[in-house]
């Protein structure tokens, strides 16, 4: 991470996009950084928290994205510079506050940095947060490469201060998590003194109270800011054109798609025929710049990820300037040339340009491609989407599944967001039947639990991780308890925000820097709300199932905390509780009475079927030593002994 603090201006490093963003923020002398973790955004705050050891920065893992933005906003109106990072759906969480921040205006530079996840590589949605910029009337920037990620972040703070507006910056997975060359800028010494000035009259941008009322004049002021932004964007160096003066085809692109477009044009050797307009300031679009480039050609191809944001906004400008720039033939998402789902890649761009220009190009001979695919398939082991060896969630879902099956009333689990979202798959014994946004599991369950008057007699359970509990589950739990909903709220407490890399949360005793903080116990919260709270260790399968079965006989809102630390947690990793082995003489394998329960159903990656010996065997390399499989073996063939620590 030394490059983050390298004071040699002009030094070049291979940097991950998220690191380039961090470097940009450090060069802008950011004072406050806040976030709720979410892939692909989490490294931004992680690295800023490292930086906070050396520089006077306050870094916080906030309880959720809305609160994170509120924390960053406080810094802004106290005159400091702040950044708030989140993943795409975090913007939805923060959006209510964002709507009001747009109206109230800001003081110190403040940047909302959201990392979208086209293709949902680490998400259960493919949300496009760019639309918030248009909907809420805020400027939006999209860096087109790694160098720009650094430069644009640094500039975003200046822009925010010039406009007195929060600035939204969007990255995507392939920019945040891929790496490229970045030349460093000057790293200054952070300064800034925090003081919230409210002495002047309301409406005074520098020292009045910060309130959105009266709304119409504030709204008008916001729209003035956007006009000012347009004027700035018309001249912005982040909007670039590469190509001939009169291209046969103009590609208009942004973000990581800039890289795919350049690669495609290069592969097709079409530099003389195709021009690329890369736009970095995607909202509000600078109309003169767009019109000038539209006038260069008759054919336009839009290359962007997920929805046609750039495409539709450019088309408005094209319609308004049609008398000057002429009628265009547009290729993009609306005419089906480009997909509206999933990630973009150079191949898709190559295919589109090939068709439009009528050029021949074969990236890979068909026979060779087939051959390569076969060989790769043989090399790569088949891996299920599954929980890690020793993961408490496997044991938790085992218990939930078996208790629900034994109870035999077609009960089900409403799921939430975390590693345990995989509970809808065979690795969670397909126990989870709904999964939506953070905290929605208990919210949906709260609704289900009130359907008894319509004949609903299925037991209703909701699962929720400890971090998700604090993020958004508490209001829904309050709702369930207050409205006497018949639900069992199961807190899958694995002692950290495990999925995104063990960021602390209010239930853990550390701050972002690793310093001590008081913990807040979810059990105390649940009890204070009036719920009965029981505990179970999911690794004790018999006892946990008994508790679940007993809870299912009761009515009203009930809470069961299944507590067991994540197998990968820094405190647990590498330490085995048990040495586990299979007595292959006792292993019944494929016969009646077993039918390979352990390797066919339970399927911990640490348990492997040895087809030569027709018996199960422990993969000692990856077995985490949790010992749960010992209790599931019907013939007692799996043995455990206390591991020496």
């Amino acid at each position: 991470m030394s490059y983050l603090f390298d004071t040699n201006e002009g030094a070049r490093y291979l940097m991950m996009g998220n690191d380039a963003i961090v470097r940009g923020a450090l060069e802008a002398n950011v004072n406050v950084a806040s976030a709720y973790p979410g892939t692909p955004s989490s490294e931004i705050i992680e690295n800023l928290s490292k930086a906070s050891q050396k520089r006077n920065i306050y870094v916080e893992w906030s309880v959720n994205e809305k609160v994170a933005l509120e924390v960053a906003f406080a810094a802004s109106i106290a005159g400091l510079r702040s950044i708030c990072a989140m993943k795409q759906n975090g913007v939805n969480v923060a959006s209510d506050f964002l709507l009001h921040v747009a109206l109230s205006g800001t003081r110190g530079g403040i940047v909302l940095l959201h990392c979208d996840d086209p293709g949902a590589l680490s998400s259960i949605n493919e949300g496009e947060s760019r639309h918030f910029a248009r909907m809420i009337e805020l400027p939006l920037l999209e860096p087109g490469d790694f160098q720009e990620a650094r430069e644009m972040t640094r500039w975003a703070f200046e822009l925010s201060e010039e406009l007195r507006s929060i600035v939204i910056m969007r990255s995507v997975t392939r920019l945040s998590h891929a790496s490229g060359n970045v030349t460093l800028g000057r790293l200054g010494t952070p300064d800034g003194k925090a003081r919230f000035k409210y002495e002047a009259v309301p409406g005074d941008p520098d020292s009045g109270p910060v309130i959105t009322m009266p709304v119409p004049p504030h709204h008008a002021l916001l729209q003035e800011k956007l006009k000012k932004a347009i004027a700035i964007f018309e001249k912005s160096p982040f909007n670039t054109y590469t190509g001939p003066e009169k291209p046969e085809l103009l590609i208009i692109t942004c973000s990581a798609c800039n890289l795919y477009s350049r690669e495609a044009v290069h592969l097709l050797n079409a530099q003389d025929r195709v021009g690329i307009l890369k736009i970095g300031t995607t909202w509000p679009l600078p109309p003169k710049l767009v019109a000038r480039h539209l006038a260069m050609t008759d054919r336009v191809l839009f290359v962007e990820e997920v929805l046609p944001f750039l495409e539709e906004n450019v088309k408005v400008i094209a319609a308004e300037t049609a008398s000057e720039v002429g009628i265009k033939k547009f290729y993009g998402k609306n005419d089906g040339t480009m997909p509206t789902i999933n990630e973009m890649n150079p191949d898709i761009v190559v295919d589109a340009v090939k068709k439009i220009l009528g050029v021949e190009y074969t990236a890979m001979d068909e026979g060779y491609a087939k051959h390569a695919k076969e060989h790769l398939a043989a090399l790569a082991p088949v891996r299920d989407l599954t929980f890690c060896p020793g993961c408490p969630h496997r044991a938790s879902f085992w218990n939930l599944h078996n208790a629900l099956a034994m109870d035999n009333r077609r009960g089900f689990v409403c799921g939430d967001i975390g590693c345990y979202t995989l509970g809808f798959l065979p690795c969670g014994f397909s126990t989870m039947k709904t999964s939506h946004s953070m905290g929605s599991g208990i919210g949906i369950a709260s609704g289900f639990g009130k359907l008894t008057q319509f004949g609903m007699d299925q037991p209703i359970l909701a699962v929720c991780g400890d971090s998700t509990f604090f993020h958004a589950a508490i209001p829904a739990l309050v709702n369930a308890i207050h409205n006497k909903s018949d639900v069992i709220f199961v807190l899958l407490d694995n002692s950290g925000t495990a999925m995104t890399g063990f960021q602390p949360h209010p239930g853990t005793p550390l701050d972002a820097k690793g310093g001590p903080l008081p913990t807040i116990d979810p059990a105390d919260i649940c009890r204070s709300l009036g719920a009965t709270v029981e505990y179970a260790d999911p690794f004790d399968t018999d006892e946990t199932q008994k508790k679940l079965l007993a809870l299912m006989q009761e009515k009203g809102a009930r809470v069961l905390i299944m507590k067991q630390m994540c197998a990968l947690s820094p405190e647990k990793k590498g330490k085995k509780m048990f040495e586990v082995r299979v007595d292959q003489e006792l292993c019944r394998g494929d016969t009646c009475g077993c039918s390979r329960l352990c390797t066919r159903i339970f399927r911990c990656p640490g348990l492997v079927w040895d087809s030569n010996r027709q018996a199960a065997v422990i993969d000692e390399v990856i077995c985490a030593g949790c010992g749960v499989c010992v209790s599931i073996c019907p013939s007692g063939a799996i043995k455990k002994t206390e591991a020496g620590r």
Partner: protein, 368 residues
Amino acid sequence: MKVLGSRELLADVLAKELCIGCGACVSLCPYFRSYNGKTAMLFPCTQEQGRCFAYCPKVEVDLDEVSGKIFGAPYSMEPLGRSLSVMMSRAGKKAAGDNCQSGGTVTALMTYALSNKLCDAAVLTGREGLNAVPAIVTDPGEVKNYASSKYTSAPTLEAFNRAVERGFTRIGVVATPCQVLALAQMRSNPLAKKDFTDPTSLVVGLFCTWSLDYRAFRRLLEGRVDIKDIKKFDIPPPPAEVMEIYTDRGTVEIPLAEVRSTVPNSCDYCFDMTSEFADVSVGVVEGRSGMNTIVVRTERGRAAVDAAVKAGFLELEDMPADNLARLRTAAGNKKKRALKKAAGEGIINTADGRRSLIRLEPKNLAGI
């Protein structure tokens, strides 16, 4: 006998609500479990043939084949099934206990069987609240703790399977007709295992007209009886038409029509009132509250009863002819009703590869 696997059992029995929860498929593997009177399948199993299907009394029961294994003769349409004698009985001086249902015959016989090593373990059924809970008993002194009728259907054979797994080889079982039928199938070695030996030494069957669904019965009693106070249940002979529930705070009467509403569908298809495949079957005697009816069916049953009488655990009396006649009528009616219903629904002696509830000689069906 056609033997298939758990998938077929799920489709033919569990999904059709024909399962009575006898426990025959439970404790053989990790896939079937008993809970609150119902049998649940936790996960699908891939075996094409399984003990679960082979033992189940609610699918593909070949009555002639089972009868052949137990009695060496085809299935009899005689209302009480095959028997050597029908008499009245009660516990002898050596065994008289309290809280027995009528004459205490079953408790006395099983106490004798354990005391005299006729059995190395007894599989009995106790009660926790309304829930019938099976147990493996080896101490003859404990048998009396399991006395009296349970009424809710019981997974007794789950404990039987555990007893076999534990290595008992002369097991005594007290079972309802459906459980006795499942046991008879187990004892027939349906999967043709080498080195098979019958793990039972005495099967005592109970008379049964229906059982109750635990969950429905509990709902019925909610608010009327404090379940933990219940000492004993009884259904006095007609014309009372009530179930009597004895508690510390007196007796509660529940109209029989309400109680019958909690009888599982499965019982409507049961043709056996008197546990026709047991060694000895025991029931009440109408109008004689201190006596039992005892039907001795097999040679080993007769030997056990004779020895228990000789040792003073049991006393026998002749059965009055009109009592026997009424019993035969009741049992015959149940048989006819069930077979007629099943035949009407086309689930007996099915052809074309379709699976059947039971199979029996077609001419036996002609008379009903």
